[in-house]
């Protein structure tokens, strides 16, 4: 049995090795780095498993500095994997494993791009993400946070065309130059508040004490944290970079960006609000309000998209809202003493985080397959792919149905938990619940637009395409299987999530959900998802196939034999959107304002960027820095 200290470092080593694939040629480099990353990702799953069983706590002392505590924090890398971290690490492991495997074939289709940049930064992105989840120190969190932004920015820029560069630029400037300033401010404040102790334990202890005395500053801190971390998660008014950056990246990266990297923001927010801050109703309300705003903005915008990946990117924003809303609501309900519903909401939030990682990366992978097969992302042009790409279509259908919250897929379970906890609370939160419920129909509408436009409606031009290679469709099918599994057998995840929350000290017990009559758990409820599954998903197609068709004929175009035509993607729900034209015009105004604001920030930050580095020096500088850092860590372990 390898000692835990080493287990934690195995992925680190593997990812660094993967990043060394930079020395190879073009596609080969990407393939090699993907393969090694895949192995690294599987070790992540192992780490997460062990971490969930019992907390792992490892300290790498780089050198022993007994001086000021801030220096000692920097000198020590404190890796601590608690249950919350291990959930996120596990997610990282699974999703990146799928993405890496997917990338092996997918990358062949790309004709040009910065291959080496990709093969170098991709493993490092995963690595920094991993380290971010496991580090137990605010300063190191900040360091990894910055590095993650840096490396993930490089992979966004991979294609090197105008879209990619501007997407990466927006991504970098907004999340880094804008939000990171806030994070730095926040961390500084915390350090002052906590007396320069940056370990999570110290921070949470000190902040709880401080908060009761200085509510105003506490709220300020909360808002700063929300904006700072939330910007990376795609929180509503600060989301503008997301739909530009995510579609620009190669698809397996988009899947990671949407499935995981936004989750770093969620993780940081959870860490902050569930651990550092006391469960205060006002904070919860603030978070929940931002969550609702994010839901509305993301969903309504997604309804109007023509580009498949852009649509999914907006959908990510909306789904982040569905994660933040129950989180805020949970904190709020905890704060006002409705612990049962509150705990339920928090579990729902965590559950939805997991679900979203699966179905969103699945959907991005299918959109990548479409891109791979047809070379287009434009929902106006593609269409009717379900015949040529049946596996992809099946996977996409599962993904689409689960994001739409169709029982018994996973999206339904977490959404059902959200409404079940929010609606009966008899507070303003229930209005948020109503909005979330209403917006879930919009979710269904836009995701059905994505699915039907890509796979069912007749294509505008005849497409001669084939199913994607087996490796790619296999990853999609696996992700789809997860979507089904998490929906059909939810109690495992509910247990995991509630355990994680319990370990954070919340008065939730998995058993306590049984007090609620019939949570969607087979052993406690009359509602058996498996029954619905059997009935709808198996019986219906079986019945349909049993009935069969007697005759296949031309499409009935009211008697005039002309080829069938397809709806433009812009035409979908045009009247619905016109019905909400007020919303769109308001949001247009707001967007214009945000654009002015961001351009001002851009101007500032771009001068800052210009002075500090051009791309190459940035890359080398970062690489050298990282390699040195890692060696130092390893050295600390050995000594």
């Amino acid at each position: 049995m390898i000692p835990e200290n080493y287990i934690v470092t195995i992925p680190i080593v593997l990812f660094i090795v993967a990043s060394l694939a930079i020395v190879l040629k073009k596609e080969t480099s990407v393939k090699v780095s993907s393969i090694i990353s895949a192995i690294g990702s599987s070790t992540l799953i192992l780490v997460s498993f062990i971490g969930f069983m019992h907390d792992i706590d490892v300290k790498y002392v780089i050198w022993d500095a007994n001086g000021s505590s801030i220096l000692s924090s920097l000198c020590t890398v404190h890796i601590h994997i608690d249950k919350l971290s291990s959930i996120f690490v596990g997610l990282t492991g699974i999703i990146t494993l799928l993405a890496s495997v997917y990338a092996i074939k997918y990358i062949e289709k790309h004709k040009s791009g910065y291959y080496r940049l990709l093969s170098f930064s991709y493993p490092l992105t995963v690595l920094t993400m991993y380290l971010l989840f496991v580090s137990w120190d605010l300063l190191w969190l900040l360091i990894f946070w910055e590095l993650l932004t840096l490396f993930s920015q490089f992979i966004v820029v991979f294609k090197g065309d105008k879209e990619a560069i501007s997407g990466a630029y927006q991504y970098f400037t907004i999340t880094k130059a804008c939000a990171d300033v806030l994070v730095i401010a926040l961390v500084t404040l915390i350090i002052i508040v906590t007396g320069l102790k940056t370990s999570y334990d110290d921070v949470s202890l000190a902040l709880w004490a401080y908060f009761s005395g200085n509510k105003a500053i506490g709220y300020l801190l909360a808002i700063l944290a929300l904006v700072g971390f939330g910007a990376k998660a795609g929180l509503a008014p600060f989301h503008t970079w997301l739909p530009k950056a995510h579609p620009a990246a190669p698809t397996h990266i988009s899947a990671i960006l949407s499935g995981l990297i936004v989750k770093t923001g969620v993780y940081a927010l959870m860490r902050t609000f569930l651990v550092f801050f006391p469960t205060d109703a006002t904070i919860g309300l603030i978070v929940a309000s931002f969550g609702v705003l994010t839901i509305i903005v993301g969903n309504m915008r997604a309804l109007a998209q023509d580009d498949s990946k852009r649509l999914l990117a907006y959908s990510t924003i909306g789904q982040i809202g569905y994660i933040l809303l129950p989180m805020g609501a949970g904190i709020y309900l905890m704060g006002i003493g409705q612990t049962l519903l509150g705990g339920f909401a928090l579990v729902a939030s965590l559950y939805h985080t997991i679900n979203h990682a699966f179905f969103k990366s699945l959907l991005f992978l299918t959109s990548g397959s479409i891109l791979y097969a047809t070379g287009s992302r434009d929902l106006n042009i593609i269409g009717g792919l379900s015949k040529q790409m049946p596996y992809t279509a099946f996977a996409a259908l599962i993904g689409a149905l689960s994001i739409a919250g169709v029982p018994p897929l996973n999206g339904f379970v977490s959404k059902w938990m959200i409404y079940s906890s929010l609606l009966p609370s008899a507070t303003v939160i229930s209005l948020f619940g109503i909005i979330a419920l209403a917006m879930s129909a919009v979710t269904a509408a836009y995701i059905m637009k994505f699915f039907t436009a890509a796979f069912l409606k007749p294509p505008k031009v005849k497409l001669d395409v084939n199913e994607v290679p087996g490796l790619m469709s296999a990853t999609q099918i696996i992700a789809a299987a997860f979507c089904i599994l998490l929906g059909v057998y939810p109690n495992f995840i509910v247990k995991v999530c509630s355990d994680a929350l319990i370990s954070l000290g919340y008065p939730i017990s998995y058993e306590s959900f049984k007090i609620l009559p019939g949570v969607v758990l087979p052993n406690t409820a009359a509602f058996m998802p498996i029954l619905v599954l059997m009935a709808v998903f198996l019986l219906a197609p079986l019945l349909g196939l049993a009935v069969g068709v007697d005759r296949i004929d031309n499409t009935w175009t009211t008697g005039y034999p002309r080829p069938t035509s397809a709806m433009t993607s812009f035409g979908y729900y045009k009247d619905l959107r016109e019905g909400f034209s007020e919303y769109y015009s308001i949001s247009k105004e707001l967007l214009a304002f945000a654009r002015r604001l961001s351009s001002a920030i851009l101007r500032m930050s771009s001068s800052y960027e210009d002075v500090s580095y051009d791309l190459n020096t940035m890359l080398y500088g970062a690489a050298v820095f990282l390699v040195i850092g890692i060696f130092v860590i390893l050295w600390g372990v050995i000594s």
């Binding site: 379900s386 129909a441 007749p458 197609p541 499409t555 009247d575 619905l576």
Partner: protein, 294 residues
């Protein structure tokens, strides 16, 4: 065990009754148009006839989705009957079952949307689009009802809401629910998705035989489901009175709705969306009142 027997009886009742009441509605509509109209079993005859006819599939269609969509829609509405009692009180109740009912209803719209798009017919595309737009608006209105009910009863369990306490808020909610029920049961002026003179039955244009029968059956079942939900909200708990009330109500309400339907013109989809958007203001109002517990 009792609940299971009740559920079986209820489902069978709904299956038999839903087409029959459509026949009654046709008769009523004929009467207000001063016609004689077909016999009340006509809808049953129609469904049986459709079952005997051949099934045709357009050659552009995606078979797997095209053939399974009508059955999926049908079964999802049928499953919703597990949670909503009809003639006998008693169903599978659990916490949050009303959400499941709403999602199942939405799911039937979604699969019909999928089925319509899988046929590749341009009319089906337009019709499905309308269907989805309406479903979104319906869901927004239903969300307000469910939210307000949850606030009012501090619970999301249907049997906790049967019957509703008589309060200002519950009366407003019931009135609001009646309007939403009318809209959701795809009656004129809200039969925009199927609008026969405009887009020739829209989503169902390519369906024939058993598939068409299933699509139609789904709509009938959905109407009775929504009516039963309403009756459950108002009927007393006493089994005898409840049953009597239910039998009367399940005839009277569709008859009244049919009379209203007969005197309406069809709305345009954008008008309908705006109308429903305006209705949602009442939803907010109802929510506020129920928050105060009036």
């Amino acid at each position: 065990m009792n609940a299971i027997i009740a559920v079986i009886v209820n489902v069978i009742f709904a299956l038999l009754y839903a087409p029959l009441i459509d026949g009654v509605e046709r008769k009523i509509k004929a009467r207000v148009q001063r016609r004689k109209g077909p016999p009340i079993q006509q809808t049953w005859y129609d469904i049986l006839k459709l079952f005997k006819k051949e099934e045709i599939m357009p050659k552009d269609a995606t078979k797997s989705i095209f053939v399974s969509a009508p059955f999926m829609a049908f079964l999802s509405v049928l499953i919703a009957y597990l949670f909503v009692p009809t003639i006998l009180p008693g169903a599978l109740y659990f916490y949050g079952d009303i959400i499941v009912v709403i999602y199942l209803l939405a799911f039937s719209s979604i699969v019909l949307f999928l089925g319509a798009f899988s046929s590749g017919n341009p009319y089906a595309q337009v019709g499905a689009n309308r269907e989805m737009s309406l479903a979104v608006m319906e869901e927004i209105l239903l969300a307000f009802i469910v939210g307000s009910l949850a606030v009012l009863n501090r619970s999301l369990m249907l049997n906790r809401m049967f019957p509703l306490e008589i309060k200002v808020s519950s009366i407003i909610l019931l009135a609001f629910y009646l309007v939403v029920m009318y809209i959701a049961s795809a009656r004129v002026p809200f039969d925009i998705a199927e609008a026969e003179p405009e887009i020739a039955e829209g989503p169902f244009i390519e369906y024939s035989g058993k598939y068409l029968a299933m699509c139609k059956y789904t709509i009938f079942l959905k109407r009775i489901l929504l009516t039963s939900l309403f009756l459950n909200f108002v009927l007393p708990e006493n089994v005898l009175w409840r049953t009597i009330g239910y039998v009367i109500g399940v005839v009277i309400i569709p008859v009244i709705l049919a009379m209203i339907e007969a005197h309406m013109g069809r709305m345009r989809i954008d008008q309908a969306v705006r109308f429903m958007k305006r209705l949602s203001v009442i939803g907010i109002f109802a929510w506020v009142i129920s928050l105060f517990g009036w």
